[in-house]
């Protein structure tokens, strides 16, 4: 299938958003191929910048966990990073020497907790972190703040009224934790704490064809068993006891139904193929940025990278892409 030279391969992918919550999105991506979908997925996981605690200066720590342990835990707390795209990487920042007191590249946090007289253990959580920049704070603090403001829960109804925050350490009576932390911008490639994505995955949309003729040869009981042979609920019996596709996307490409059909001696009863050019994305974020931002930022980052490739034609230099290709 040779195309004429100079013909354009350009396609115009379509996106249909099925579901969009603050930290969850499900959308269809059509008219493009796996490389595109996968690039988007990879960028979402590894290259969309967020802010996370990177430097911890511990003043007092008499808790049971050691300093590095606590620092590691602090790093993994997702911080609201809507402004991360506009921030500077600490290494590129000219305005500061990286000590944290720089408005362009870092945000300072303070934490001071001390378990006083009571016999109960004190739980130090992300709620105890005090940010110097209201835009950047632990996600559950932001959530609580929004709840207080709007009274409605933007993250769905499942959050209980009690917002406990992310546990950092438990303190016993007399123990104390006091520290200063600096959050910086970074990407998931460098450390997973900067990855805004909790889950980013896609699947090929299945194309399910039921051979009606062959299906007619089955008894109702056989049909029911055929339906049950699929571990997920893909098919159902309609009112006329006909096998119909209930939820095509529940299909996990497990081939169980096809194997069952073959076992019945009726190969070709059901034919399932993956549509090569349409993908169903599921995106969940850590809360650092909204799912919408994640997708949009990912597209922006991807475009920047592609621009870098385009620039490569001009001067043979990889430019900014070099940084992306060559790691940090």
């Amino acid at each position: 299938m040779d195309r004429p030279v100079g013909a354009s391969y350009q396609r115009f992918p379509r996106v249909r958003i099925r579901d969009l919550k603050d930290d969850y999105a499900k959308f269809e991506l059509r008219d493009t191929d796996a490389s595109m979908a996968n690039a988007l997925r990879r960028v979402m996981i590894a290259e969309v910048p967020t802010v996370a605690i990177d430097l911890v200066e511990i003043e007092v720590n008499s808790s049971v966990l050691n300093d590095e342990f606590i620092a590691h835990r602090l790093g993994l707390i997702p911080l609201t990073s809507a402004a991360a795209m506009q921030m500077r990487f600490s290494r590129d920042c000219d305005a500061c020497d990286g000590d944290g007191s720089c408005e362009y590249c870092s945000v300072e946090f303070h934490l001071a907790a001390r378990a006083t007289d009571s016999d109960q253990t004190l739980e130090v959580t992300s709620n105890d972190l005090r940010s110097m920049d209201p835009k950047v704070c632990p996600v559950d603090q932001a959530r609580a703040y929004q709840q207080a403001l709007g009274g409605t829960d933007p993250f769905g109804a499942n959050t209980s009224n009690e917002n406990r925050g992310i546990l950092i350490v438990k303190l016993r009576r007399g123990q104390e934790l006091r520290l200063r932390a600096i959050a910086r911008k970074g990407i998931g490639k460098d450390h997973a704490k900067w990855s805004p994505a909790a889950t980013v995955t896609f699947m090929y949309e299945p194309d399910i064809r039921i051979n009606e003729e062959l299906m007619e040869t089955l008894t109702v009981e056989e049909r029911r068993r055929l339906i049950e042979s699929s571990p997920t609920k893909v098919f159902k019996l309609d009112s006329a006891n006909q096998v119909v596709v209930d939820n095509a996307e529940a299909y996990t490409y497990d081939d169980e139904v096809i194997k069952h059909a073959e076992a019945l001696g009726k190969p070709g009863l059901v034919e399932i193929n993956a549509k090569e050019d349409s993908f169903i994305f599921t995106v969940e974020t850590t809360g650092a940025i909204t799912a919408y931002e994640l997708i949009m930022n990912a597209i922006t980052v991807l475009r920047q990278k592609l621009d870098a490739v385009r620039l490569q034609d001009d001067d043979g230099d990889l430019g900014e892409l070099g940084a992306h290709l060559g790691g940090p």
Partner: protein
């Protein structure tokens, strides 16, 4: 009997000789199998994991020590017996130390931290004479020494403490105890395996001769008696005789002059007579007919004649004292020994006639296990006697000097003998007791605290007595009699394979029990004393001999009845629960054993295959109204040792089928099949699905896994401690894991594993790891290392000093490597410490030999700082600094330095199925395969690991773990647990998986993370518990360019710790020779190693020297400087020549021009 009871269901009451629970009746509705698992935790609650150690030590503290002191309770001056000291009583007090005239009680943890010995005073009540008038004085609580105390024993302060109290004393509630703390280190006295004493063992020797041997062991003497058959004739072999003595001669010497009686005593069977005939003939041909002649004959063969070279009467005393020494001789009556010899002969002849009756030395029933209590009691006995004889010695010295008033004994007894003797033996592990001719090394070992499993593994370990180098396979083989007693899996690989064993979960080792009551009981049950019988009657048909601990007690006409009676008495608690009653049909013997060191295990008693335990008992147990001891005393459960197991038919489960023919012969039912495994192998899920060596490998590796060690791990001061940051409890557990507390002190993490090939960096068992998982804390570990600095004291109060870091006038540190120091000259906790940093800024006085008198000035000290040697580029942190004074009152500074490590390429990981592998590469998460649910594995394992290893258990673990995470219930995989519900079936697991939308076979549909396209195969993926092993690249990697050299040879040093060179060894050298790379060899072997220039005299061929003043070379042999040549050779070569010179060998170099 129970048989009758079955029929009479109306009567309700059972007429029975034994106190049977009376509710066994067929009228009851069909019984459901009882869930007897609850007995296991009940057993462990009562007996604990290391009960045998503690029991044995308790026995020594409570009884053994008293017996020893009582046996040697009087010492008196040699020249005046009226000066004496008598020990009235002895007891071991509470652990304490005597310091600055104060008695302070101590805790085990304090001892660990301050390098002390956890010991308690041995207090005696004494009565002694004072002064010239020999006034008798009495003193109580007189301390004769300090006894190291086993943790959790009855003398330990931790005894019977609950969790809160233990926490107060800094102790971990999961710590099993059973070890000692000596000089701050935890020492275990390993269980020692021996051949049983005082038993006849019929075997063949290396020449294929049949021998019957007895190792007699009494308090007074240990001896070995061998009766052997050589060329049809039977001889006695004893160390004391130069030659084997014909056995009939021995019989005659013991007063059995009639040959007929001797034959009668062995047995009436004519075949015995035939076999004995050559021996009788030999005796007759030597013309020995009377006792006198026999003794004379034997006297001539005595090996060590007395001091006067007088052999006369020696053999008689040997017969009395050495020959089968454990058989007591009362009033010179040798008849018991005659009978014993006859029994030995009979056993031997039986073996010749029927080779089935040979004994197996490797049979566990013929083994005895020596525990810490017994070993310490030997040591104590020796030291106690030494102490007493030293006191007597001193008394004699004193009285020689004609003092004004003779001292009394209480002033002459030195505590140090016992205190230091015990301490030294336990801390070195050398048991050198001359009195008992005992020289053993490695009896005690340092308790490994690498992981909780390692600790438990040490406590159950059994070491063999014979040397490990022997290549014989017999003792190494798995014995069927090990079943339930010793773990079939847990044994090391390599030289100690099969010799070092481990106890099974439920096994117990007995301690000695009183024989006296048993003897009386046997006699009243109809055992006839042989002394009242004629020789003919001893082996009368139908009657069996009754042996108690290897001694012939008598014979019984109805052995079955005797056995039943005795067993019923045991079940009703009249005699001890560990007494074993075993009827040996082949030997026509009833063996009763009450001696210590036998392994035994509890079993449920069954009547005609019906378990005595029913639901009512189990309910009571669950309610807490019943405990394990109630089951024992209620006659529901009993302990069987290996021998008695031969009389039992033990079923795994109750046979429910009424018509089951086999059922009626079942006498016992196992408590749980998983109890055949030990503690360490118990943490393997589905071990019964694995190839057996894999379980063995895991047993070795489980001890190297990092995790949580104890609840007090952060307060311990071990020299090296590895901890896992986020240790988890396995998703797929076993019952053993819960019983031993591994779920609370896990050593691993549940990793989502995809079984597939990826990246090529996964060959040879390497695993591919997900970088994001590592970022999030997978496999992260903490290494804590202890560095100790001693502040030494010298004469005249001069001592080392610790000075604050020197600063210049601006307050800037004089030396950069002092940055971690605090103002007191010791590192500050929490400080980051780097390579070459000082952690204790110590100075020592220049002159330490003699005191100066005046105060020392700064210039009198030289720096001797303790410098931290770490890895460049790693950040390590000072965790803690501890100051304490050690036993010599020196200040010891212990710095604990912490290093948090994340996994890197080359670190070793392992699953619980003996599948170890190193991390081959670390790959970004986005490159990892993912499923459409968004699941992305933590690590990828190559499927080639499976076919040859056959670790099906690992696959089931994956399935079970996957089902576990999806349904939220921990799944079980206990050994052989499927029928009893202690392990989940694969079918059930699969249906759970299907319910949660997974494929029943555990395989998932994955997409390539690089391409975004589906992978062409379904990938077997799910959680598997992975252990991080202690072998880490960071501790091992090593390279060097140039560096230190050995002083003597000037060659590069060896080993990583000395920054050594990498050796180009013989084989590498051979390769280079074969390749012809001569210059490379030259460079490696000489230039890069130890080049040296020498002056060689061309005439004499010896080495000369270069005179730097005259600028000429000179040969000291030829006395001139002519004919000298320069050449280069390895310094080691020059050294060799010189060493040869020293041995009067002259190597000469013949030089030719090239």
């Amino acid at each position: 009997m129970a048989v009758l009871a079955k029929g009479d269901n109306e009567g309700g009451k059972v007429v029975d000789t034994m106190p049977l629970p009376t509710y066994h009746s067929l009228a009851a509705p069909v019984r459901k199998p009882v869930d007897k698992f609850a007995l296991l935790p009940a057993f462990l609650k009562v007996r604990g994991l290391v009960k045998e150690h503690i029991d044995s030590f308790n026995y020594f503290i409570d009884k053994g020590i008293k017996k020893i002191v009582e046996a040697n309770n009087r010492i008196e001056a040699r020249n005046d017996p009226s000066i004496y000291l008598r020990y009235l009583d002895v007891r071991v007090g509470m652990p304490s130390i005597y310091e600055n005239c104060n008695v302070e009680s101590i805790t085990p943890h304090l001892c660990r931290l301050t390098d002390r010995t956890y010991s308690a005073p041995i207090e005696v009540d004494i009565q002694y004479t004072v002064g010239k008038q020999h006034v008798v004085k009495r003193r109580n609580k007189f301390i004769i020494g300090y006894m190291p105390i086993m943790l959790r024993s009855s003398a330990c302060i931790l005894n019977e403490m609950d969790e809160d109290e233990l926490a107060k004393y800094g102790e971990c509630p999961l710590d099993p105890g059973g070890y000692f703390v000596v000089k701050g280190t935890e020492k275990v006295i390993l269980i020692q395996e021996q051949l049983s004493k005082n038993r006849i063992i019929v075997d063949t020797d290396s020449k294929g001769r049949v021998i019957a041997s007895v190792t007699s062991s009494t308090h007074a003497i240990k001896s070995k008696t061998v009766v052997l058959m050589d060329k049809g004739k039977i001889y006695l072999q004893l160390n004391q005789f130069t030659k084997p003595i014909p056995i009939i001669v021995v019989m005659k010497a013991m007063g059995m002059e009639s040959d007929q009686e001797a034959v009668q005593m062995v047995g009436r069977d004519p075949r015995y007579g035939d076999l004995l005939f050559p021996s009788i003939q030999e005796c007759a041909s030597e013309r020995i007919y009377t006792r006198q002649q026999a003794l004379q004959y034997m006297d001539e063969k005595v090996m060590y004649p007395g001091a006067t070279n007088n052999k006369e009467g020696r053999s008689n005393s040997i017969l009395h004292d050495v020959f089968i020494a454990h058989v007591p001789v009362k009033d010179g009556n040798l008849r018991p020994k005659c009978i014993y010899t006859a029994v030995m002969l009979r056993r031997m002849l039986d073996a010749i006639l029927n080779s089935d009756t040979f004994d197996d030395k490797d049979y566990v029933g013929n083994k005895r296990f020596e525990l810490s209590g017994q070993l310490i009691s030997l040591l104590f006995e020796d030291l106690f006697k030494t102490m007493n004889s030293q006191a007597v010695e001193r008394m004699n010295k004193n009285s020689d000097k004609t003092r004004s008033s003779p001292l009394d004994f209480s002033q002459l007894i030195m505590q140090d003998t016992i205190t230091f003797g015990l301490e030294r033996a336990i801390s070195t592990g050398n048991w050198d007791i001359k009195r008992f001719r005992m020289h053993r090394k490695g009896v005690s070992q340092v308790l490994s605290r690498l992981s909780y499993m390692a600790t438990l593994g040490y406590m159950t370990r059994i070491t063999p007595q014979f040397e490990k180098t022997r290549k014989t396979s017999g003792p190494r083989a798995l014995q069927p009699s090990q079943w339930g007693m010793l773990c079939p899996c847990d044994t090391p690989e390599g030289e100690a394979c099969g010799l070092t064993k481990n106890l099974a979960l439920l096994s117990h080792i007995t301690t000695d029990q009183e024989e006296g009551p048993l003897i009386d009981l046997c006699h009243s049950l109809g055992v006839e004393d042989l002394l009242f019988l004629s020789s003919e009657e001893i082996h009368a048909p139908g009657s069996f001999l009754v042996m108690l601990n290897g001694l012939i007690l008598g014979k019984h006409k109805d052995p079955q009845r005797l056995v039943i009676h005795l067993r019923n008495l045991r079940r009703s608690n009249v005699i001890g629960e560990f007494v074993s009653i075993f009827i040996n049909e082949k030997q026509r013997c009833v063996h009763i054993a009450s001696d210590g060191g036998r392994v035994c295990r509890p079993l449920i008693i069954a009547d005609m295959g019906i378990s005595r335990i029913d639901e009512t008992h189990m309910t009571k147990l669950r309610d807490g109204t019943y405990d394990f001891d109630d089951f024992l005393s209620g006659g529901l459960i009993e302990y069987l040792d290996v021998n008695e197991e031969n009389n039992a038919l033990i079923a795994l489960y109750e046979h429910m089928d009424q018509d089951d023919v086999e059922r009626s012969s079942i006498t016992h039912i196992e408590i749980e099949p998983l109890s055949i495994l030990g503690v360490v192998s118990g943490l393997i899920p589905y071990p019964h699905h694995n190839q057996s060596p894999r379980n063995t490998y895991q047993c070795a590796m489980g001890k190297q896994a990092m995790g949580n060690i104890a609840y007090n791990q952060l307060f311990r001061a071990d020299s090296l401690l590895y901890l896992l940051v986020y240790a988890q409890r396995p998703l797929l557990t076993t019952k053993t894991i819960e019983l031993v507390g591994y779920d609370k002190l896990g050593a691993g993490q549940n990793a989502t594993v995809a079984v597939m090939g990826y990246s090529g960096y996964d060959i040879e068992d390497a695993i591919v790891m997900n970088k994001s998982s590592l970022d999030r804390g997978f496999g992260r570990c903490i290494a804590l290392k202890k560095y100790t600095v001693l502040k030494d004291n010298y004469v005249d109060g001069v001592s080392d000093r610790i000075v604050k870091p020197q600063r210049d006038k601006d307050g800037v540190l004089m030396k950069q490597n002092m940055r971690a120091l605090d103002d007191d000259g010791i590192v500050a906790p929490g400080q980051i410490i780097r390579n070459h940093d000082i952690y204790v800024n110590k100075q020592t006085p220049m002159n330490t030999s003699k005191g100066i008198g005046r105060p020392l000035t700064d210039s009198c000290y030289k720096d001797s700082p303790a410098i931290y040697k770490g890895v460049d580029g790693e950040t390590t942190v000072v965790d803690r600094v501890m100051l304490c004074s050690d036993t010599n009152d020196k200040l010891s500074i212990k710095c604990i330095i912490r290093h948090t490590r994340r996994p890197e390429v080359g670190d070793k990981f392992s699953s619980r199925h003996g599948q170890k592998g190193v991390c081959g590469t670390i790959i970004q998460q986005e490159d990892f395969p993912f499923s459409e649910r968004g699941i992305c594995p933590d690590l990828i394992m190559n499927p080639h690991g499976f076919p040859s290893r056959m670790t099906i258990g690992k696959m089931i673990e994956l399935l079970g773990g996957k089902a576990g995470v999806s349904c939220g219930r921990f799944h079980y995989g206990s050994a052989f647990g499927e029928p009893s519900g202690n392990a989940d079936n694969v079918a059930d697991i699969s249906s759970t998986l299907i319910k949660h939308g997974f494929s029943y076979n555990g395989k998932d549909f994955l997409y390539s993370g690089i391409l975004g396209q589906p992978l062409e195969a379904y990938i077997f993926m799910g959680p598997i518990y992975y252990q991080k092993l202690k072998h880490m690249v960071l501790d091992k990697m090593h390279a060097r360019a140039s560096g230190p050299r050995v002083l003597l040879t000037r060659q590069p040093t060896e080993g990583r710790s000395r920054d050594g060179g990498l050796r180009l060894g013989e084989m590498e050298r051979d390769c280079l020779i074969a390749y012809g790379a001569s210059m490379l060899i030259f460079e490696r072997l000489m230039l890069s190693s130890d080049p040296y220039q020498v002056q060689v005299c061309r005439k004499c061929g010896l080495l000369g020297y270069y005179n730097h003043k005259l600028k000429t070379s000179y040969c000291s042999m030829c006395k001139n400087g002519e004919n000298m040549a320069k050449m280069r050779l390895p310094y080691a070569c020059k050294l060799l020549f010189q060493e040869l010179h020293a041995m009067n060998v002259v190597p000469r170099l013949k030089l030719t021009e090239v």
